[in-house]
Point group: C2
Chain length 451, copies 2
């Protein structure tokens, strides 16, 4: 029987990071990654296959990342795990014995059974599957009207890319606003204005009653109020479910939402088996309640943490809960969020203060290419500790959101922000005298004093 030291199941971001980190931290160990896909897509790049990029070939993670790091790669499906004897049964390669196993089995898009018409031929989801997406893209050539159900970030990015490529796009979101888990209403409205300004039709605050079809093909989408949207293609981006069947079959505990149970070392009940990424259970860093977050930011941190703790545990290398940090871009504007929204913080019982400052992402604002930059901070009222942040701005929004992410993860207070040195440059950041993040912190501090 073939043997390896560290076996990773899953070849997307979490699996790759688990493998490369494992090899980096345990160079003497043999690390092997098994995945079923021949080619791996950059997951967050998938929407861009439909507009900005010419084809999915340009959106691949090269296997050289694994091979150059001396990581064994097997393209095959794992049928079962014998946890007791530490053996994986692999479809085409027989059995592989392991010392440590990392499950990075990912997630699968939901195709809701309760939704009439969801099974129709031209109703697609967005799985991490190159063959599927290539087929779907090829079928879009003669398509004019596209209805996208679900205004999460994949729905939004798909809407924008298809709109760019000349389709007539309608985006339907059940919640009052798109991306409402990440952004409070006033920022979500700005995002919606951008989408509408680019020609995308939005239907928010309304659900889908059914997908209408003729001869196995969708022809339209009927909303809950009876309105019917014409559709030559329908995309369902209504969520993903964790791929935890393999773990469950192996006797590992899975939580109510279907995620594999892990502790802060990302270790399952079995001391030699870890789970990371979309398939692994997690709680919110702030609210401490279970959260079905599926984001590369969280997955990759979990993967590094599991890999560092494989052979010896370290209390300074713990996963503290997801801060749900992410960012996206629509045209020249970008949107980022980390931690809790004002809405969620209030709902979960926090006593909070919030402040928003609008400035610019360059200075003086007369410089060509200047974008507005809006920063909203959500802070604990008493301690001033930052619980969440939302950003709208230009190209620097991603890293500015990451800065807020570090602030949240380090449990910094507004005082830490107000005493911080912030590098600024006319072409790269907001102005030193009105850097939006600092001004928002100042506005929070002002409210603290007037309590």
């Amino acid at each position: 029987m073939e043997k390896t030291d560290v076996l990773i199941i899953g070849g997307s971001a979490a699996g790759i990071v688990a493998a490369t980190t494992a090899k980096s931290f345990h160079p003497e160990k043999k690390v092997t990654l098994v995945r079923k896909e021949k080619n791996v897509l950059v997951p967050c790049g998938m929407p861009y296959i439909f507009g900005t990029l010419e084809s999915s070939d340009q959106d691949q993670i090269p296997d050289s990342i694994l091979l150059n790091a001396d990581i064994g790669l097997k393209i095959s499906e794992v049928d079962s795990i014998d946890a007791q004897n530490m053996i994986c049964k692999v479809s085409e390669n027989g059995n592989i014995g392991f010392e440590k196993l990392v499950l990075a089995t990912g997630s699968t898009p939901v195709r809701p059974k309760w939704l009439k018409g969801a099974e129709l031929e031209n109703v697609s989801t967005i799985p991490k599957d190159k063959v599927y997406l290539d087929h779907f893209k090829a079928g879009l050539n003669e398509v004019e009207d596209v209805v996208i159900v679900g205004g999460g970030f994949i729905g939004i990015e798909m809407a924008d890319e298809l709109n760019k490529s000349g389709k007539k796009v309608t985006l339907v979101e059940m919640m009052p606003h798109v991306l409402s888990l990440a952004f409070d209403e006033e920022l979500a409205i700005e995002l919606e204005e951008v989408l509408r300004g680019r020609g995308i039709r939005l239907e928010t605050g309304i659900g889908v009653r059914e997908i209408n079809g003729e001869e196995n093909k969708a022809t339209g989408v009927t909303l809950e109020n009876g309105d019917r949207l014409p559709a030559d293609a329908v995309i369902l981006s209504v969520g993903y479910r964790p791929n935890s069947a393999l773990a469950e079959k192996a006797g590992l505990a899975v939580n109510k939402m279907g995620f594999i149970q892990v502790n802060e070392y990302m270790r399952t009940e079995h001391p030699d088996i870890f789970a990371v990424g979309d398939c692994a259970a997690k709680s919110s860093f702030i609210t401490r309640t279970p959260k079905p977050t599926m984001l590369a930011s969280t997955s990759c941190a979990e993967a590094r943490i599991a890999a560092m703790n494989l052979y010896k545990l370290s209390t300074v290398r713990l996963f503290g809960g997801t801060i749900s940090i992410f960012c996206t871009a629509i045209g020249d504007l970008a949107f980022g969020a980390a931690g809790v929204t004002e809405n969620l913080a209030s709902e979960r019982g926090f006593d909070i203060l919030t402040a928003t400052f609008q400035g610019t992402d360059q200075h003086p604002g007369t410089l060509p290419g200047t974008q507005k930059q809006i920063v909203k901070l959500i802070a604990a009222k008493e301690s001033g500790i930052i619980l969440g942040g939302e950003v709208i701005g230009g190209k620097s929004t991603g890293e500015l959101t990451n800065l807020i992410g570090f602030i949240i993860q380090s449990k910094m207070s507004v005082d830490a922000l107000l005493t911080a040195q912030i590098g600024t440059h006319p072409l790269l950041t907001g102005p030193p005298i009105a850097y939006p993040l600092i001004k928002a912190a100042e506005l929070v501090a002002r409210q603290q004093r007037s309590l």
Copy 2:
């Protein structure tokens, strides 16, 4: 006699931030700012007057920032400070009494007396002075050859802007490389290649012997090796000296380098007088040795800290020393640095590990507009605490450098980085599986383990 509660002397970044923060934290107090300049330039925007912007009118800080915050503004020169009686003598406005005084008197470019020809008519410096710079710019019309002495960030930015506007520019730097206080050699070389690629002539590792002149006008610059560079205009950007004469005359202590002595609350020996910005003494956050840093990042943090401590001191609102954080941009590439370089850390006696990772600022790298992104980290060998970072990349370099700045100021270790959640997006950041900052941390950790 006119009376105010908080009096600020100086109208550039530090003065403005001291004033607005003072008003925000002490809204019941009367805050007055005195400055001698009619118009205030965005200091870091000054080089852009010479290329990107049409005129210095587009590089002004509007007085509305002060006036809208209900801050009194006086355009006048302060002749002297009577510290005992808490009165400022102001040229045109008589005396002003104060409860608290903040000195934000700034700095003046050095025009070295020992350099023959430095006094010639067409030899300019870059002071924060709109009238002076307008006059200088007007005189550049018929100029072809410009020699810039001093390869700090102002020298570099002036070189690039004048080059853009069609001048033949030579930049002379005495040190082996430009910006060698901020960047280690291998990164400074990349910056030099960019400058050369844009048509700027560089003379590094060589000093200036004299500025040659005829009839009170500079005609060339002779280097130490005897080479003579033709010049129709010469710019001296060889440093700034603190404006501390007013403080010294008032009996306040000034250090050997000419900076006003302050403690961590930015308070001078006099409990009601504070000093911030270029005129105030500071030490390095890392090395704890005095440092003549003059950067908006440091100045504005000092200004906020002084303003917050005016009436009551707070031990969580201290200035911990300068991290010399800054960033600049040349063409499509940007350069940022925070904390110590490898070079300086070694010189000052630190036992360090360093690692550099080169990736991309978008992902996949096939996306249009992708730039390389290089991150170098300098960490303490034993603790893994991050002491410095250097970045080369695209538009997001400024905020990525700020992220590193927060990491340094929070004394985070590589473990904090390796467990951190980093938001990524194809168009906004490097890839989740190879985010350069994290990969550099991983390389540091690898070296720690092999010790």
